[in-house]
Subunit: 159 residues, 2 copies
């Protein structure tokens, strides 16, 4: 499978979490998304669209990882998934996508970003209308785990 | 509130459902989305992004309306929300958004469309990272009810 677009997202994820939230993580091998469900307890999603490109990026966190990330980000402890944490997931998704944008353009994926959407809940039934497979990259953080999931494809015809 | 962008979505919704699925509907007054939940049992969502525009469109159907629409669309009865119905929701969302695109461009919202995403489940916790309010338009169909929900905003600075 062609996953040339995944590396800019991996790089931006590691970079944003380290610089913004002092949060170190290590990624495992990219794989195809095995189901049609949200992976973690809170998920940030952002639609990607260009003149001849369409796709999306999702970040999905377990409770331990996102509470640590948001606690580090704001310098105050968070112990439950509330609106502030949910909004922070949207901001983080936005920053990672923005961080990947120029590297993606160099690979021929010239994208703009839609408004980030956040979903709270594990195993929420979610699917994409696309023949392009979704690539999942699992990450192990200093605390907890999360995944990034992305698909990006060049459109056959521009409408 | 500035809802100039909502009329192209309303027009395209009525037009797509009538021409593709012989499904008549009447819309009520647009209002602000009152909560952070999916309205219906199945929801299609599409991110909208341009050089200086970001937003999203959601269509959310009750079971009666979407089963009738998909039955009409495919000419065979559907009695439960399955993968075909869910994919059809993504297709319908895509067609409506495509139908609204040129009218939106005339109003200064030049957008491209991300990959449609479908969520199955009522009252799924979903929110947007945006200060722009989400406009909800309730529709009454010949069978059942559905809503369209949209937000679209010009970005202050292009990144």
């Amino acid at each position: 499978m062609n996953v040339e677009y995944i590396n800019p997202f991996i790089d931006a994820t590691l970079n944003v979490l380290k610089t913004m939230a002092s949060f170190e993580a290590f990624h495992q091998t990219p794989q195809l998304k095995p189901d049609k469900k949200t992976w973690g307890v809170v998920t940030g999603m952002i639609g990607l669209a260009g003149d001849d490109v369409a796709g999306m990026l999702m970040l999905s966190f377990d409770e331990a990882s996102i509470l640590q990330i948001v606690s580090n980000l704001f310098g105050t402890p968070y112990t439950a998934i509330n609106d502030e944490v949910t909004d922070a997931v949207g901001e983080i998704t936005n920053m990672i996508c923005g961080g990947a944008k120029s590297a993606l353009a160099e690979k021929g994926y010239k994208i703009n970003m839609a408004t980030p959407t956040m979903i709270v809940g594990k195993d929420v039934a979610i699917s994409q209308l696309s023949t392009t497979p979704i690539v999942t990259v699992p990450f192990e953080g200093t605390v907890g785990r999360f995944v990034i999931e992305a698909s990006l494809t060049r459109k056959k015809s521009s409408t």
